[in-house]
């Protein structure tokens, strides 16, 4: 799964670079507008180390932000699954807020809280929190009648069991939404860094943009793609391990 993911990204990236090269040589554009393969390669060699560090920095923020938002989304989603007025309020609020471009308020957050790690973390967490919450709410609100029926009949149902049943039965959906939120978290963190931070790969892209250095931007995008592919692969692996660990090893 992971090698295939990386291969797919490689393919798409190379196709995109090939298209740029076609435009470059078709129009006779200089390296300043579209960098040639040689310049790209040189830039990759010179910036790889620095950009890997920046990407790791951004990834750390995105991962921690995503983890926080997963925990919070599950806590609120489990609490808000009931059809009480609070549960309904949470659902409606989540639905409305998730449509709002959170990244647009990034400059305000940076102004109020400064440039540091915490501002980026907050933006990363906010960006993936609301879609996660909506998914968790949807999953936790939907009864699994086939399984829950016995426990309700026999008076054994507890909220913990109800959550466990619904989470287990929707494991695939949950892992998909968690994997998807990783992309959101990463993209959101990068955009926030681009707008207003002083660290991370998004910030490096902004610096490259000031220098009109498309080669650096392409290298940065390459590293982002690889990092994200690896991260999503790891998430899928963790999801599979979690499911196997939960289900246990039963004899066929």
């Amino acid at each position: 799964m992971l090698p295939r993911r990386i291969f797919q990204f490689f393919l798409i990236y190379c196709l995109a670079v090939a298209m740029l090269a076609a435009i470059k040589y078709g129009l006779g554009l200089s390296d300043y507008v579209i960098p040639g393969p040689q310049l790209l390669w040189k830039t990759l060699q010179s910036e790889l180390g620095r950009y890997l560090k920046d990407a790791a920095d951004t990834m750390t923020v995105a991962v921690v932000g995503q983890l926080l938002s997963i925990l919070l989304a599950f806590a609120v989603g489990i609490f808000g699954r009931r059809t009480t007025w609070l549960g309904s309020f949470i659902k409606v609020a989540a639905y409305n807020v998730q449509a709002y471009p959170i990244v647009a308020i990034a400059p305000i957050i940076f102004i109020l809280l400064g440039d540091g790690f915490f501002s980026r973390l907050l933006i990363a967490a906010m960006i993936c929190y609301f879609p996660l919450l909506l998914s968790v709410l949807g999953i936790m609100s939907e009864p699994i009648g086939d399984i829950e029926h016995f426990y309700r009949q026999t008076g054994r149902m507890r909220w913990q069991l109800e959550v466990k049943i619904r989470a287990f039965e929707n494991m695939h959906k949950l892992t998909t939404v968690v994997a998807g939120s990783s992309t959101l978290a990463m993209a959101g963190t990068i955009v926030a860094e681009f707008i207003a931070a002083n660290a991370g790969i998004g910030y490096s892209i902004r610096v490259a943009l000031y220098q009109s250095d498309l080669a650096k931007i392409l290298v940065a995008l390459f590293i982002i793609g690889i990092t994200l592919s690896i991260y999503q692969g790891i998430l899928e692996l963790c999801g599979g391990l979690a499911k196997r660990g939960w289900v246990g090893r039963v004899a066929a």
Binding site: L27, Y32, P35, N198, L209, Q211
Partner: protein
């Protein structure tokens, strides 16, 4: 199999479409309609450009000029090559970087004879008379832009290492400077400098300006550029454009044209108060025409060479580009 063929055909069609579009853009330049891409927003740093347009100097010379504002994501030199613009404003570091990568750009006029980039500071908190006074200070720089290069040049000349200062990444909001987190903040003396300095002065905080030029660092700023292709195929358009443009600058900076000049800018800059614009105009005069004898638009070869040397020194370019070969003031004589 069929699916892969379809995808490939689609990709080829897309590339052909892009190329055709860009070729069409290039073809449009042969008419008298030209686009002039600025370096930043339409403000007092572009007063001569806006004045020329407003007073009809371009029309007099048979040119239909569209002035477009710049920004961090806009690059006039790139647009010249792609055919989106025929003229643009770029700083020397942008031109030199572009030349290093083979961009076919030439410089036809130098608008700012003095680089307006300086660092503002609070005089009642710190004193910055010499380069060594920078030690221990928090210095705002825009990483990747020319102020970073200038500051690093200054620090190198003073033999101050990175560990002896704190370089603070600057964005568009001035809050860190107002809060006192940053000691020296980069501003354009004729625009932000007036605004911020005025705001601090009105709250009883005297300000000073740290000028790199005072310490021997000359780094050329806004200049008018066009493509080599334009110079070869349409030398008359280039000449007419630059002459109209420089006329606009000369007239805009005349004392008796002050209110007209302010009005030309005010239609685009509605946020700045009238007295601020007037101060900005005064400051702009001092950088475009530092002395009464200064020729507006003249290209300072020595300053350009120095700029190239600084960029070489800081490894912004891998090898010399001999930028003076591309300074074509002869185009407008």
């Amino acid at each position: 199999m069929k699916h892969s063929t379809d995808t490939l055909l689609l990709a080829i069609a897309f590339v052909v479409w892009i190329v055709a579009g860009l070729w069409a853009q290039n073809a449009a330049a042969s008419d008298a309609a030209v686009t002039y891409r600025l370096k930043w927003l339409k403000n007092m740093s572009t007063v001569g450009d806006l004045f020329a347009l407003r007073q009809g100097y371009f029309r007099e010379r048979g040119l239909d000029v569209t002035i477009k504002p710049g920004g961090p994501e806009r690059d006039a030199i790139r647009e010249l090559e792609l055919g989106y613009a025929q003229f643009g404003v770029a700083s020397a570091d942008q031109v030199i970087r572009a030349l290093a990568k083979g961009a076919p750009v030439i410089v036809v006029a130098q608008l700012f004879q003095v680089n307006p980039l300086q660092w503002i500071y609070r005089r009642d908190r710190i004193s910055v008379e010499t380069l060594t006074d920078l030690k221990g200070k928090t210095l705002g720089v825009t990483f990747g832009k020319n102020d970073e290069i200038i500051m690093r040049t200054l620090l190198a000349r003073a033999q101050i290492s990175d560990a002896q200062v704190r370089l603070y990444s600057v964005r568009l909001d001035y809050t860190p400077f107002f809060k006192g987190v940053v000691d020296l903040w980069p501003v354009y003396i004729n625009t932000q400098g007036v605004e911020i300095g005025g705001r601090l002065a009105s709250s009883g905080e005297p300000v000073g300006y740290f000028n790199p030029d005072d310490h021997g660092v000359r780094f050329v700023a806004n200049s008018v550029v066009t493509s080599q292709d334009m110079a070869v195929r349409h030398p008359d358009i280039v000449r007419n454009f630059v002459q109209a443009l420089l006329k606009g600058w000369r007239q805009a900076l005349r004392i008796d044209n002050g209110s007209l000049a302010v009005e030309a800018v005010r239609q685009y800059d509605r946020d700045s108060a009238l007295h601020v614009l007037q101060e900005q105009l005064q400051a702009t005069r001092s950088i475009v025409q530092p002395t009464p004898r200064s020729v507006i638009g003249a290209i300072d070869h020595t300053a350009w060479q120095e700029t190239e040397n600084i960029m070489l020194q800081h490894r912004q370019i891998a090898k010399p580009v001999t930028v003076i070969k591309y300074l074509r003031a002869d185009m407008v004589r």
